[in-house]
């Protein structure tokens, strides 16, 4: 195959193949999540759906890997040279590591859907920065590059997974608190076990014989209460504004006003839709402690990778530019991200800040990561600016 054909193939493998496979797998998994609380036959359907989702996810990852390989061969180098390639590989690392941890380490395969949804979002974002395959700038052509860049990309992917966990934690926590508050208001009693609406509903006359039916009705009522506990409008507006902290970059850097507004709205509305979807799935999420633990573990791991990656970058800069640190925009950004996640880890160790506040710091740290990533590439020009090449 010629290089042009390979480039064509890699493009096709990326979009629509990988993108559609990830999205479909995500929705199949999310459907499976809703069946975990249903009747026996429904659970059976859920198991089957999960199997289908697994196959789709593996196919998606295979297509994604094939895309990376085809792109690599099309340009005779590792596909880590520009923003599109870095973002695409970030999605791959995030999806693979997220699925692996959930499936085999934590044994929570029902959460796979959220990881895949996050992966699809990052893939979609990479489409906004698509660049044709091409050779590298000479300064990037060294073994330092794969070392430094792949560490940072892996860390970014894992930080993205941690962002998903932090977001889900906040959703679930908000819902549980809302339910607990409403219970407290009605019973004016102890808040112990307040998060269980079941005993509230149980006060009515018992239906004879069909305990199972009652149980299910209570569970459904609890789910409804959880779902109602999340203020939709506030969530949508908050996510829109929060995403704007990052996506304004497209607004100001696109060549045309219409294009900029289009990209800005596309990113923001996708994020809002994803948040509302996640909010609908809140009742099926695992406990807040599990989600919090997942976020903490992933951030811890990614933080180590990020630290080593930044040090490797400094060493490369010393060799290549003759100085190890010069507060170049990208260096500043990576340092800021490091400080933000160090703040998260310190917050976890601080009484009174852990829990919700720590999760918010984690969310803020991811905004900082994405913001500095885009700003340093598009807005502020520095030595690292090879985004559009």
């Amino acid at each position: 195959m010629t290089q042009d054909q390979l480039a064509e193939l890699s493009r096709f493998l990326y979009s629509p193949t990988t993108l559609l496979l990830y999205l479909t797998a995500a929705f199949v998994y999310l459907y499976a999540l809703t069946t975990t609380v249903g009747r026996q036959e429904e659970r059976e359907r859920g198991r089957r759906a999960r199997r289908i989702g697994g196959v789709l996810a593996v196919l998606g990852v295979t297509a994604h890997v094939a895309h990376e390989l085809a792109r690599g061969f099309a340009q005779d180098r590792l596909p880590l040279g520009n923003m599109f390639e870095v973002t695409s590989l970030m999605a791959l690392v995030g999806v693979v590591s997220g699925l692996y941890v959930l499936q085999f380490v934590r044994r929570r395969p029902e959460l796979n859907g959220f990881v895949l949804l996050g992966g699809s979002l990052v893939l979609g974002m990479a489409m906004l920065m698509y660049a044709e395959p091409g050779p590298l700038m000479p300064i990037l052509d060294t073994w330092w590059r794969p070392f430094h860049v792949s560490l940072l990309v892996a860390a970014m992917g894992i930080f993205a997974a941690a962002f998903v966990f932090n977001g889900l934690y906040l959703l679930r926590d908000t819902a549980e608190r809302a339910v607990a508050a409403s219970h407290e208001g009605r019973s004016r009693g102890s808040t112990v076990g307040a998060a269980h609406l079941g005993d509230l509903e149980r006060t009515g006359p018992s239906t004879d014989g069909d305990d199972d039916e009652v149980e299910r009705a209570h569970a459904a009522a609890y789910r409804e209460a959880l779902r109602a506990g999340i203020p939709r409008v506030k969530l949508a507006v908050g996510v829109f504004l929060g995403t704007s902290l990052v996506s304004w970059v497209w607004l100001v850097t696109d060549d045309t006003v219409a294009g900029g507004v289009g990209r800005f709205l596309a990113v923001n509305l996708t994020m809002v839709a994803a948040a509302l979807l996640a909010a609908w799935f809140t009742p099926f999420l695992p406990s807040t402690a599990t989600l919090d633990g997942l976020a903490h573990r992933t951030i811890t791991f990614a933080f180590v990778l990020w630290t080593v990656g930044v040090i490797a970058g400094a060493m490369w800069a010393e060799v290549s530019w003759g100085r190890f640190w010069g507060w170049d925009p990208k260096e500043t950004g990576s340092f800021l991200t490091w400080v933000a996640y160090a703040g998260y880890l310190h917050a976890r160790a601080t009484h009174g800040v852990r829990g919700r506040n720590a999760a918010w710091i984690g969310i803020g740290a991811f905004i900082v990561l994405m913001g500095t990533y885009l700003i340093a590439n598009y807005v502020v020009v520095g030595l690292h600016s090879y985004a559009e090449l």
Binding site: F303, G322, V339
Partner: protein, 569 residues
């Protein structure tokens, strides 16, 4: 204020109950009055610095300053953009720029605010670390695992029975845990606590890693400060085939030695650029069109007492001579321009025009030797081929396949020394133009009574020569940082007890292996199972709980103390 409350409790009101003796030493009453106020304030400040929340605030402040530095152009990085912001050509406008300037936002990392924050952070770090290091040393030297009365509900517990005596079980457990490098404590048992072997692990490495991580910041700071003092950086541009420069203080255009760098530290070698290779993807349809693919200098180095030798400098492969490193910073075209007035050469040399956004290069020729002065405003296009009608068409392409030198000739007063102007700028206020022309290499043209010729085109490269003797220390600091970070985040502190209960009637000993991890419980579950299995094997256990056919099953059902099913043989 816990201390004050405590003191009030001890001195003013009732004495503490005898069963609950004061754990802290009683603080001697400090000085009162003005001195007391100062002492109290310092103590309060020190205590505030020691709080974790303070560290969080400072990290946030550091983040904020860095954020400012991301959005506002920084003078050391992009001084031209800063100048544009100040003059109002770019950015939010002159008034905002003036405010930014006043708070030092154009040079955040050199500003007093940043230095003060850094100082405060290091002070806070020190205030945190001193008690922690002391406590850590005490822990390493004195810590003994605590004994327990019974397994706690939160513990991971497994039991088995064996014919061996409690002493043998404890001795074997001691062996097993010694091999696994646990800290151990034998306890023979008394009325309140059963006979047991208490063990603990990971308390040194987790806290130690965290301390190492934080101490590495001092190493980094020291290395950076020493680096600033001993470093040397010099920059110099060289034209291909022209005389280069020698490593000495006077020959650098930009010379930045550290305070401890001495002129005798120069090595006095001679540097010449033979050829500079640069190339691009020239096919406009190829992927990555226009992108550079190569920057490489072929140079000749002559040591002060030795034979000249050839060397190469690549983008990622700087040249090292002794302790000095030579890197390529930038490059450009160097057309040679000869200017003659009335047959007399008033200028003959290479000019180094600077690159512009439009893809062409802009420079100037200044010949004060002529009377009146001659000034040429020069535009250099590397690739300006002829079109069908024979007219040159300037393009933005950077390769020199059809170089063209366009100039506008000026006569009058160059005002050298009178106004501020760079080598590539012409102050045209006192000059009058007599027209211009374009030249291909080898051509010459006469405008007015000035003959301008363009005999040849070469390239120039800007080099940076640097010496950083503190780099190994910095690398060591980075190594400490990573080496401390990993155990700080991944080491887990855990405790384990091996309890025995002898039943003389049955002639068997009931062994309980129970433990708890403060971090990473899953990893501990595996370790606990492995230790239990090893111990059970060594003492030939007769019945175990959990049964040996599912030793790895710790994912769902954790065996708590209390649910003992298979106990008696």
């Amino acid at each position: 204020m816990p201390t004050r409350g405590y003191r009030a409790l001890v001195t003013a009101s009732s004495p503490p109950p005898a069963a609950n003796p004061p754990v802290r030493r009683r603080r001697r009453p400090g000085p009162t009055g003005g001195v007391g106020f100062v002492v109290d304030s310092v103590l309060m400040a020190w205590r505030w610095l020691r709080r974790m929340r303070t560290a969080l605030y400072m990290l946030a402040a550091l983040g904020f300053l860095t954020l400012v530095a991301t959005f506002v152009p920084q003078e050391p990085n992009v001084s031209s953009t800063v100048a544009e912001w100040r003059s109002g050509e770019a950015g939010p406008g002159v008034p905002v720029a003036r405010v930014l300037d006043a708070v030092g936002a154009f040079d955040v990392y050199g500003s007093g605010l940043f230095v003060a924050l850094l100082l405060l952070m290091y002070l806070s770090l020190t205030a945190c670390l001193i008690p922690r290091i002391r406590a850590w040393f005490r822990l390493v030297r004195l810590s003994r695992p605590p004994v327990i009365r019974r397994p706690s509900e939160a513990n991971l517990t497994a039991t088995f029975a064996t014919a061996a005596s409690p002493e043998v079980v404890h001795a074997t457990a001691d062996d097993v845990l010694t091999r696994r490098r646990w800290r151990r404590r034998r306890h023979t048992g008394d009325g309140r606590t059963p006979a047991q072997l208490a063990a603990e692990k990971g308390l040194v490495s987790r806290e130690g890693g965290s301390l190492l991580f934080h101490v590495s910041f001092y190493v980094l700071l020291a290395a950076i400060i020493v680096g600033q003092l001993t470093t040397f950086e010099g920059q110099r541009g060289v034209v291909e085939g022209e005389p280069g420069f020698s490593d000495s203080a006077v020959s650098y255009w930009l010379y930045q030695p550290g305070r401890w760098f001495d002129e005798s530290d120069h090595d006095r070698w001679q540097f010449e650029l033979d050829e500079f290779h640069v190339d691009w993807v020239r096919d406009p349809l190829a992927p990555g069109a226009g992108q550079p693919t190569e920057f490489r200098s072929e140079v000749t180095i002559t040591p002060p007492d030795g034979e000249p030798y050839a060397a190469e400098i690549d983008s990622n492969a700087p040249l090292r001579i002794g302790g000095k490193r030579i890197t390529q910073l930038d490059w450009g075209y160097a057309p040679r321009v000869v200017v003659e007035v009335d047959g007399e050469v008033v200028h003959d040399g290479f000019i180094q025009p600077t690159v512009t956004d439009g893809g062409f290069f802009r420079g100037a020729v200044k010949a004060p030797a002529a009377d009146p002065d001659v000034g040429l405003e020069v535009f250099f296009y590397p690739y300006a081929p002829y079109d069908e009608s024979g007219r040159p068409v300037p393009t933005g392409a950077p390769w020199d396949e059809a170089p063209m030198l366009l100039f506008r000739q000026h006569r009058g007063d160059l005002q050298l020394g009178a106004t501020q102007q760079t080598v590539n700028e012409l102050d045209t206020t006192e000059l009058e133009s007599e027209g211009g022309a374009y030249l291909r290499p080898g051509q010459s043209v006469t405008v007015g009574d000035v003959e301008v010729s363009f005999p040849e085109l070469r390239r120039w490269v800007g080099y940076q020569v640097s010496s950083r003797p503190a780099i190994p220390a910095l690398l060591a600091g980075a190594g400490l940082l990573v080496g401390g970070l990993i155990p700080a985040l991944y080491a887990s502190r855990r405790r384990l007890w091996v309890l025995t209960e002898r039943d003389e009637g049955l002639g068997s000993t009931l062994v309980t292996v129970t433990g708890r991890a403060f971090q990473r419980p899953e990893a501990f579950a595996e370790e606990h199972a492995a230790v239990t299995a090893e111990l059970a094997d060594a003492v030939e256990a007769t019945a175990t709980d959990p049964p040996p056919d599912r030793p790895g099953d710790h994912s769902g059902a954790h065996h708590r103390a209390g649910d003992r099913e298979v106990l008696r043989p």
